[in-house]
Symmetry: C2
Subunit: 342 residues, 2 copies
């Protein structure tokens, strides 16, 4: 443990938790005190090579020891060993866990599966970094909302966005899950708007937001078809330049072979990313279409990883370690985030 580094405990080592742990370990101002795993499975065993392993309750220790995995303690001990918790437990569990964190007076970052009302601020690095400054309980919005906020913010800052209308074509489940579907059906969300519209409003002050979500049989990425109604007219090349100025956005072309999410994720494999992840939000250049005050474009979202840099920035904002631009720059540098590299 290097002196002066913030000790971050990771409660929940699923799709997001494992990636946040890795991202924390790359930074020079924070370190992973430990991770909480509920089951002594292969993920726990492989994680024990890199991190201290904790379990939810003392009674869970035996199962881990039977599986040959050394346990450092329970969640209570992890809280003692940490200065901040990243809660990446399954949807809805954060609402229960926050009671414990408050009792123990430890700050915590939650994920998009939790409700906005349980925290002091919802968070997106580009949209509202400053709203989390000094807060103890902050929630990083979901992968889809993060992607919307990330690509809409630069346009909102440039010309103002009056209305958002987005169709989200969602992946069925993550790559390492073989139990969920659909595997041969298209499944619309039967709630209008989908939860993404109110979620986006928690981080971006745009009044009119419409979203609809459609689940399809793939595991690689989500795809968003977005229509923005702009306050002022802008040209397509101005829009594209605004995106290109952001490292967490990658303006790509379908013409050089990247015509689907299959090739977009392949490109992440080609540059030796951790877990073959793609942190940046790719926008297809060919899809950018401006007509009067209307902007349309199509983007993709690597649902497993796009929120990871936001978790790091949320920590720095809450703990007042660095201001917005410096935090984003540092996160990107250590995670090698650079949309223009693609």
């Amino acid at each position: 443990m290097i002196k002066g580094m913030l000790r971050v405990g990771i409660n929940g080592y699923g799709t997001i938790g494992r990636r946040v742990a890795h991202a924390v370990s790359l930074q020079d101002d924070m370190t992973v005190s430990g991770i909480v795993k509920t089951k002594p499975d292969y993920v726990a065993r492989l994680a024990s090579k890199y991190y201290n392993i904790y379990v939810p309750k003392e009674s869970d220790v035996k199962a881990f020891e039977d599986a040959g995995i050394k346990v450092k303690g329970d969640l209570s001990k992890l809280i003692e060993d940490s200065e901040l918790i990243v809660d990446s437990t399954p949807e809805g569990m954060g609402e229960k866990n926050i009671v414990t964190y408050k009792e123990r007076k430890i700050p915590a970052v939650f994920q998009g599966g939790e409700e906005h009302k349980i925290v002091e601020a919802s968070f997106n690095s580009y949209s509202n970094f400053d709203q989390a400054i000094g807060k103890k309980y902050v929630r990083v919005v979901s992968c889809n909302t993060t992607a919307l906020a990330r690509t809409i913010t630069p346009i909102h800052e440039m010309v103002g966005v009056r209305r958002v209308n987005a169709t989200l074509i969602r992946r069925a489940t993550d790559q390492n899950d073989s139990s969920k579907g659909p595997i041969n059906a298209v499944e619309p969300s039967l709630k209008f708007p989908s939860h993404h519209a109110p979620d986006l409003k928690t981080v971006l002050p745009i009044k009119e937001v419409e979203t609809v979500a459609i689940k399809v049989p793939t595991t690689l990425m989500h795809v968003h078809v977005i229509e923005l109604n702009l306050e002022k007219e802008a040209k397509a090349n101005q829009i594209i330049d605004a995106w290109k100025s952001k490292r967490r956005i990658a303006v790509i072309s379908g013409k050089d072979g990247r015509s689907s999410t299959a090739q977009v994720m392949d490109m992440a494999r080609e540059v030796d990313r951790d877990r073959s992840d793609l942190y940046e939000i790719p926008i297809w250049k060919e899809s950018v279409f401006v007509s009067g005050n209307t902007l349309r474009y199509i983007q993709a979202v690597h649902q497993e990883s796009d929120v990871v840099p936001e978790n790091i920035d949320a920590i720095r904002s809450m703990m007042q370690i660095l201001p917005k631009e410096e935090s984003i720059e540092k996160t990107d540098r250590y995670m090698e985030i650079n949309g223009s590299a693609f």
Copy 2:
């Protein structure tokens, strides 16, 4: 270019070529002189960060230069700049290319898409390393045949295998391909046996081999259901120990969460493999069943990467750089191949 390192040119930078290039670059006795790409796509652009780029013919140079990718020369120039070619062009093209290699008197390694009859020896590291010693034209058998040879050989060496009967449940296409199917059908090979049976006989002296191949809608891995008729009886734990003694085989358990190819490939992502690849052949411990002289087991095959270490060993055998065990050990060390790590 470090002195004394064998200069290996990679003709064809698709699924296999890009991985062989990476594996060559990790070794201390060979180096990548360059790679041939046919299209100036995103893969070519990203590859140009690591390798010298060549094109098939002089007339292809312009398209690359228009795309901003620097070209070192054509295939003829790559042959001049290399001491050995790994031909990883699409199926059937090797048969045309070998004419050029022979004219230019340069040795070449081919992939499983080519026919056995065009080369002097087909190759699998465990089965017949020595048959390639000093040969100029050698073919690494396909991903499926490599997996069969790799897990059958230790059993054949221990007790003798009289008959092989394997059902290959094949992935539809690779992860980065969005044009092929099936996406909602199960497609049996209509040739009995499938080409894998004669292919296995090119590397392993077993007379009776039956294989059948069934294509299913997935991109992650193939799965093999194998039945071996043994010359002598053996116990399940002896069989498992024989596999465990080989680094390129991983005996895994479904009990700790790895019940499908989704979790098996996830485990490769968890250990920071290049491109999230899995070079080892995983065998599910729970599937190993012995009854009299019959052994049954189920294994999976990461079709994109399992043949990569064999390409490296084939080079060392042909060029007489190292004998069998030393080559395999070195390849495994630099590629961090170690089935027992899972």
